[in-house]
């Protein structure tokens, strides 16, 4: 079965000269369709970098990243854009909603970018799925942290992704809100069947996933199911 996303001997470095840092050091990983994978590690372990690399947001210094069996390096700009629009979605730690759009418009923007016949077309329906139909016309600044994360989830669903990448989705939320967000993600994952990769430092969050890959100083040090 073709992986949704994979990396082979991946190396990612930042900076120049004496300040150059190796964030990922020869990491190899596969994400199967529908799989729930957690990337766990302390701050600076490389989990966010690996997440971004899998999603094509970061250019590898060495090694290779594949999306649905196709090497990212072989894709042109338009093909990458299409990948990001229709196959990969993100939920960032701070939600990263577009501040000048309402909840409705944030979801509509993603639907429009995807422009996929398979994707949902009704932002209100998606907002309803995350329980925020009543906040459709609110701006991100008028929502709580949890509400912003739920809108981010609705936006991600608007892309009808094969892979959802979540970077510390509960990092800025209190434990109760965070738990509800995680429950929602789980429910949507079961509903829509996308692969889920979550970067987290939290053991309990990681435990909700089918597989946990532990990272330390840019290397995979442990894998557990």
């Amino acid at each position: 079965m073709t992986s949704v996303s994979a990396c082979r001997e991946l190396v990612v470095e930042y900076g120049h000269g004496d300040g150059r840092v190796r964030a990922l050091d020869h990491v190899s990983l596969d994400v199967a369709p529908g799989e729930r994978l957690a990337l766990r590690g302390r701050s600076g372990s490389g989990k966010t970098t690996l997440l971004h690399a899998l999603g094509g947001l970061v250019e590898p210094t060495g090694g290779e990243v594949e999306l649905e069996g196709r090497p990212l390096a072989t894709l042109d700009e338009e093909a990458r854009r299409r990948m990001r629009a229709t196959r990969i979605a993100y939920v960032f730690q701070g939600a990263n909603l577009l501040p000048t759009f309402t909840g409705f418009e944030n979801v509509a923007f993603a639907i429009r970018a995807a422009a996929s016949p398979d994707a949902p077309t009704d932002p209100l329906m998606l907002l309803g799925l995350v329980g925020l139909a009543g906040k459709a016309e609110h701006l991100p600044g008028e929502m709580s942290g949890g509400e912003r994360q739920r809108v981010a989830l609705a936006r991600a669903l608007g892309q009808h992704p094969g892979l959802l990448l979540c970077d510390e989705p509960t990092g800025q939320l209190d434990s109760d809100t965070g738990a509800r967000i995680l429950d929602l993600i789980d429910a949507l994952q079961r509903e829509f069947g996308f692969a889920l990769v979550t970067a987290t430092h939290d053991e309990d969050v990681a435990a909700r996933h089918d597989r946990v890959v532990e990272l330390e100083e840019g290397r995979v040090v442990r894998e557990s199911a």
Binding site: Y14, T48, T49, H52, A53, G55, L57, V58, E77, E78, R81, R82, M83, R84, A85, T86, A89, Y90, F92, Q93, G94, N96, L97, L98, P99, T100, F101, T102, F104, E105, A108, F109, A110, I111, R112, A113, A114, P123, A136, E137, L139, G141, R155, Q159
Partner: protein, 898 residues
């Protein structure tokens, strides 16, 4: 790491932002620096022009020739005096030239000017047309030469006084006495200059010749003060000392030069007590120039200061571009233990670096700009360069510090956590007090009040010019600027926000809907751009329209001052004998001509210039505007003149002073050339004239040429006006070739317009206008570019998120260029409205300066289009560059930042 090293590293870390800050600050200080340099240069130019316009600086009456020679010698040795000479003026009863084979030619009474042989070296009241001044001989003024039909080498007999033996003198030259009104004026040091009607017939000879041959026949008068300044009224010889001030001693602007000249005169008089008391023609001219200089300074400030302030606003914007990020950074630094003093020091040192570079760059631009417009060709002294650089650096450092510290002020004042929270905008005090509305209201009120008073301004009669009323006058445009700017800030793009909300309702789905929704919610940021771009473009429109109208009026004023495109002046006999009007009419490039007689007449005790015109042909040679007349159009009043042979147009002051009505009989005393005496002549008032080509600002009269000649027994007109096709200077050369051999002087409007005399309407606006227009065009492009750059910087995270969602670069760019388009469109509309309004206000406020006032504003379309194109190009190029940048955004790195 020291604070200096840290500050330097911080600047290098964001090279783009640093360069933008430096460039915009440099432009702002360059504008201010150029303005100050230009003002200084213009004031010095006004001084030198004012000094040049005075042919004879000082005259002191003395009792005798020995007294004149003693005093002249003493004065000439004084520091600051270029030359001082003993001179005499005296009357003669008549002159005769017996021309063998032709007849006997006689002149009426006239005046003698006796001067040393070296007179014309430093005093330029006489211009020799032929020959020169020789001891024992006489130089005839061209009018006298024409009357006597005499040439150099001929013998002419002068009778000093009726009944005395004539004195024969050989003619050694023919001259033009160009300052007869000053040379022969009554000399009363207490009253000052009192220019008199110049004598018709003048003879020039050396002091020795006069003293030997003619002076013994005439009484010597100690002083001509108290005598009327009319020919024939001075009964004897007036000895005097004439002196010229060294122009190099008069430095700086007219006010400073006036103080220097007055001080010099007082020093000389006090060092030679009882010997000389000067009539000061120079101070009179400098006093007038001082008043004009004050207006010039105010005008320049009004035109340049808004631009400089807006440019500083751009610099402030550049520094505040990432105010939120700066605020968070500073708050984090404080959280990590940095002290407030340390942060202030860091910001201050950064500002110092930016300010020094910007100041040096800006001063270089200012100096170069002045060179490029051919201003400041005079010595650019080391002191001036140092002062310019120093001033610009100080200004730039202050501007940079204000922006930088303003950005960090909130973080420096507040708690750490508060610094990290997004700031909720608070309504400032001026908004609560509605200062913007108040400013606009007061602006309108001041404008209305000054309009009611006719926009006149006051200059303190104690030669100490003050701007008492002028300050209020300029409050109107100043408050309009301020009120408009504050109102724009208050509105914060409310209109856009409302429209967006109504159209999209928070549920936009299409690209256009999303663009509108985004713009509506970024209305404050858009408004910020609109404010600066709009005000900058408005400044450009205001400047361009005012400068263009000013140039237009300068040409009109030059034509009014000179009289026509080309003016040829000659003695009446010469004009008639050589049929000059007809010859000039046939010169290539001449469109039409008219001849007129410029003479004088007394209305009561007032001597007024009188113009005899041919009412049927006058408009062939010059332009008459309806605004020149009161109570009728130009055509109507010319028709009245044609209908009444003895009709006369008089000034409003004459009508008021003598309680005249249309149709009233007006008896004038005119000079009868046949007898050399004044005779009472009846005229009838047919209209009121307030302006006339070549007429002075004082009261004057216009009448029919043939009637005037019939009563004055003048041989004919003495002036020809000519209209031209095309280049007046080129046509004037051809007219000169025809007219000068007849002894005529020829002037053209191009040369007249280019001359800078002591009058604000001929103060050279083109230099400062070119400099400022160039700056505005560059700043317009820079302002749009800055808006794009700031927009990209502010929304980098947002655009990265869009890209991560899969939006195309084209669509992401649309969010940038749609805002640019709104700012550009709004800015151009604001510029058209506000800029035009300000120009109208400024032109209306300077009505009394323009002579005549403009009928309409002049639009410099080339510049205005260029300005709009610069703004569009600046936006376009930067948006394209931004699009390329968007393609290369490091998404991962940006999205990691929270």
């Amino acid at each position: 790491m020291t604070f200096a090293a840290l500050a330097f590293a911080n600047l290098l870390r964001t090279p783009g932002r640093t360069i933008v800050r430096v460039v915009v600050l440099a432009a702002a200080v360059a504008l201010v620096g150029a303005m100050i340099l230009f003002i200084g240069h213009s004031l010095r130019t006004m001084t030198s022009s004012s000094v040049r316009s005075v042919p004879l600086d000082w005259q002191a009456p003395v009792a005798s020739r020995p007294a004149a020679e003693r005093a002249a010698l003493a004065v000439s040795k004084q520091h600051g005096v270029l030359d001082a000479l003993p001179v005499a003026t005296a009357p003669f009863a008549g002159a005769i030239h017996v021309k063998p084979g032709t007849g006997i030619f006689r002149s009426a009474s006239g005046s003698i000017l006796a001067v040393p042989e070296t007179y014309t070296q430093n005093i330029h009241t006489i211009r020799f047309l032929r020959g020169s001044l020789r001891p024992g001989q006489v130089v005839l003024d061209q009018q006298l030469a024409a009357t006597l039909q005499a040439q150099p080498g001929d013998l002419v007999s002068f009778t000093a006084k009726a009944g005395r033996r004539p004195v024969r003198l050989r003619v050694s030259g023919i001259s033009v006495v160009s300052a007869g009104d000053i040379l022969f004026q009554p000399l009363n040091p207490l009253l000052g200059p009192a220019p008199a009607q110049p004598p018709v017939e003048t003879a020039v000879m050396t002091v020795g010749t006069f003293a030997q041959k003619l002076a013994p026949q005439l009484p010597t008068i100690a002083s001509s003060s108290g005598l009327p300044g009319i020919p024939g009224s001075v009964p004897g010889t007036q000895w005097q000392v004439q002196a010229q001030v060294d122009p190099a001693q008069l430095t700086g602007g007219p006010a400073q030069a006036l103080r220097q000249a007055t001080g010099l005169r007082n020093r000389i008089q006090s060092s030679l007590p009882g010997q000389v008391n000067f009539v000061d023609n120079l101070s009179e001219s400098l006093n007038t120039a001082t008043g004009d200089a004050l207006y010039a300074e105010t005008l320049y400030i009004m035109l340049a200061l808004p631009g400089a302030l807006i440019a500083l606003g751009l610099a402030y914007l550049a520094a505040l571009g990432t105010v939120e990020r700066d605020r968070r950074e500073l708050s984090l630094l404080r959280a990590r233990g940095a002290s407030r003093r340390g942060l202030v020091a860091l910001a201050g040192i950064e500002s110092l670096f930016v300010g020094i570079v910007a100041g040096i760059l800006g001063s270089g631009i200012a100096l170069l700009a002045l060179r490029l417009v051919h201003v400041g060709r005079g010595p650019l002294t080391l002191w001036r360069v140092v002062a310019t650089v120093g001033g610009c650096v100080v200004l730039a450092v202050l501007g940079a510090a204000a922006a930088r510290l303003g950005a960090g002020a909130a973080a420096l004042r507040g708690e750490v956590a508060e610094g990290r929270r997004p700031q909720r905008p608070r309504r400032p005090l001026w908004q609560k007090l509605y200062l913007d509305v108040a400013a606009l209201a007061v602006s309108g009120l001041v404008y209305w009040l000054t309009a009611r008073t006719g926009f006149s301004a006051v200059v303190n009669p104690d030669s100490n010019p003050t701007l008492s009323l002028s300050i209020y006058m300029f409050l109107a445009p100043a408050l309009l600027w301020l009120g408009a700017a504050l109102l724009l800030v208050r509105l914060r793009g409310a209109l856009l926000e409302t429209v967006a909300r109504r159209v999209t309702g928070g549920r936009a789905r299409t690209l256009s809907g999303l663009l509108l929704a985004s713009a509506g919610r970024r209305s404050a940021a858009i408004n910020r751009g609109l404010l600066l771009v709009g005000l900058l473009l408005a400044f450009g429109v205001n400047l361009g329209v005012f400068a263009s109208t000013y140039d237009q009026q300068a040409r009109v004023d030059a034509q009014l001052t000179l009289g026509a495109d080309i003016v040829a002046s000659a003695p009446a006999e010469a004009l008639k004998a050589h049929a000059l009007e007809q010859k000039i009419a046939h010169v290539q490039g001449v469109a039409g001509t008219t001849a007129l007689d410029h003479s004088y007449a007394y209305v009561g005790p007032d001597l007024q210039d009188t113009f005899g015109v041919n009412a049927s042909t006058v408009t062939s040679g010059t332009t008459l505007r309806d605004s020149y007349f009161i109570g009728g159009t130009a055509n109507h009043l010319l028709a009245e003149l044609r209908a009444h042979r003895d009709g006369i147009l008089v000034s409003k002051e004459t009508v008021t002073d003598y309680s005249l009505n249309i149709g009233d009989l007006l008896k004038l005393r005119v000079l009868d050339h046949a007898t050399g005496r004044l005779r009472v002549t009846p005229f009838h008032v047919v209209g009121i004239v307030q302006e006339f080509p070549s007429a002075p600002r004082d009261s004057f009269m216009v009448t029919n040429l043939d009637y005037l000649l019939s009563v004055t027994h003048d041989p004919g007109p003495n002036v020809v006006f000519a209209k031209t096709h095309g280049d007046a200077a080129a046509v004037a050369k051809r007219v000169g070739a025809v007219a000068r051999p007849a002894g005529a002087s020829v002037k053209d409007i191009t040369t007249q317009t280019a001359q800078t005399v002591s009058s604000i309407t001929t103060v050279d606006m083109s230099g400062i206008a070119k400099i400022e227009e160039a700056f505005v065009v560059i700043l317009a492009a820079a302002a749009m570019a800055l808006f794009v750059v700031l927009g990209l910087a502010e929304r980098k995270h947002e655009f990265a998120t869009m890209a991560s969602i899969g939006s195309s670069v084209r669509e992401i760019s649309a969010f940038l260029w749609s805002e640019v388009a709104i700012v550009l469109a709004g800015g151009l509309a604001l510029a058209a409205l506000l800029g035009w309004l300000l120009a109208e206000m400024l032109v209306a406020m300077l009505q009394h300066v323009f002579d005549p006032p403009p009928d309409h504003l002049a639009a410099p379309w080339l510049f205005l289009v260029g300005l709009a194109v610069a703004a569009v190009l600046g936006a376009l190029l930067t948006t394209v560059a931004a699009g390329l940048r968007l393609r290369r955004l490091p998404l991962g790195e940006i999205l990691r930042e929270q």
